[in-house]
Symmetry: C2
Subunit: 300 residues, 2 copies
């Protein structure tokens, strides 16, 4: 369907920025080269806030075009048919997005979705062309089944952490994080956390000023960027543990927390009592920084 | 359409409570006497999160049945047609709910809605039978146009506070509150604040334990009941201003903050330096408690 970006000054509403797509007819999307296209995957039983939260965030972001892509033809009902919707495309005719959002559902509904090889093929194929691919809640199960979480640090709804870990034993599934960003793969905690994850994506693509403007428009004063884990991001460490600034590798060849082989050339390091330690991830580093004696004492 | 309450133990998901409606066919709703029916009004241009946030909250609440009621026949598009939905009923055939949710939109869309006298008639008529009637964001304009906010303390999106006050000069429009509960009329701040307002309704109807269980299911760790203003609710005031515990009326006949005549028998009181003061509302009382000398000094 034709969409064009309609730049609207929402003066009556007071929104700071709001370029939003206007759906006009059922032909291919038109967008200029600066448009960020956001595809939100929906399927029978999808959780309402899992997809509407991120869709709200991106629809309030300058230059974003949001469209819904369904795994099935015809109307799609959200969990227990609270909402019946008519998506814009199916996985067989949707245009390539810059951002792919994969929301969650009850496990039965997610399972039904990933049992369709066409759904996994779509996710895998589309991911190759995205700037970021993001799951919300149990949407991480779909992401894992599509093979996109191997070796990654990821998260999901608190109730399915073990289920997700069992699906992808090569991933590190963490909890108590609103979102985790590992490269271009973004995963979030349950349901409402999709809003926070989407705001992180906006921050990454458009800057913190734009993300804050979206928060202001949505009156979402609850976003805390620090509630997410951004793998590999430089963090400021308080004394006596200090961030390495030399770029030199630590002497030890294993992560002192998980004891896994340390990546060669890792920049995820911390100095403690004159010795530099390297970590496989920010997650291990964070644990170390919280209580270094626990891990250093183990080695004595 | 026939709906029945399907009590599902979401063991795979780990949700603590979740009785949610299952839509089965297009005839009248069936519900037992304990069911809380939640009607969510939608109209062309409605803001996505304004209605999906509360719908998500109520759909995770034990014994709630959620349905969408449209002001128009046929499919309804949310703001800029981000989502096209097929509501369950129209305002001409929807069953009487216990809770009516009136979401907002851009001012142009809200204005188009309230210019239809049938819409205002529906809101006014249905409100007579509700336990609570709740607006989100600019939905408060519809509530006011229907004549339901006169003499009430209310709130809305920060950008339309003045617009709302101009529509209803008999109401007191406040800002910087996530939600305001004045009797059975609940109003909320913009967009995402609908989640907080809906959680307050759940707390009022089902208790704080249920509200917290919904938060846990949604991973919405951000709900702060104290971020709302509940008119007439007893608050604990720190020294030297003390909450009256005698039930006696203060000697002065006017609110020391707004100088309006004080309600006879008001329980909204505070003791300061041995003298009891009465207030027209919690809002004035809160201002007084923050800085009592400002108001007491004025009287000297």
């Amino acid at each position: 369907m034709i969409r064009h970006i309609c730049i609207i000054l929402l003066s009556a509403f007071g929104f700071m920025s709001c370029n939003t797509p206007v759906k006009q007819s059922h032909t291919a999307a038109k967008a200029d080269s600066t448009t960020i296209r956001v595809a939100v995957l929906v399927y029978p039983g999808v959780e309402l806030l899992d997809f509407s939260g991120p869709a709200e965030v991106f629809s309030n972001t300058t230059g974003c075009e949001v469209y819904l892509v369904s795994t099935v033809n015809g109307p799609v009902g959200s969990r227990h048919n609270i909402l019946t919707m008519m998506p814009d495309y199916t996985i067989h005719n949707a245009p390539q997005p810059d951002i792919l959002v994969i929301p969650g559902a009850l496990v039965d509904s997610v399972t039904a979705a990933y049992k369709d090889p066409e759904v996994l093929r779509y996710i895998n194929q589309v991911n190759k062309g995205t700037k970021m691919t993001m799951s919300v809640c149990t949407g991480a199960l779909l992401l894992s089944k599509a093979g996109l979480t191997k070796g990654k640090i990821i998260t999901t709804h608190w109730a399915v952490v073990d289920t997700l870990q069992a699906i992808d034993t090569m991933a590190t599934v963490v909890k108590d994080k609103r979102f985790v960003a590992d490269g271009k793969i973004i995963t979030t905690a349950g349901i409402s956390a999709g809003i926070d994850g989407a705001l992180h994506v906006v921050e990454m693509l458009k800057g913190i000023k734009e993300a804050n403007a979206v928060c202001r428009a949505m009156e979402y004063d609850k976003w805390n960027p620090a509630a997410g884990l951004v793998v590999g991001k430089t963090t400021v460490i308080s004394s006596p543990v200090k961030q390495s600034t030399t770029g030199a590798l630590p002497a030890a060849g294993t992560d002192p927390v998980c004891h896994m082989p340390m990546k060669k050339g890792t920049l995820i390091t911390a100095m403690y009592k004159g010795k530099m330690y390297g970590f496989c991830s920010d997650y291990c580093k964070a644990d170390f920084v919280k209580n270094p004696t626990e891990y250093v004492m183990d080695k004595k």
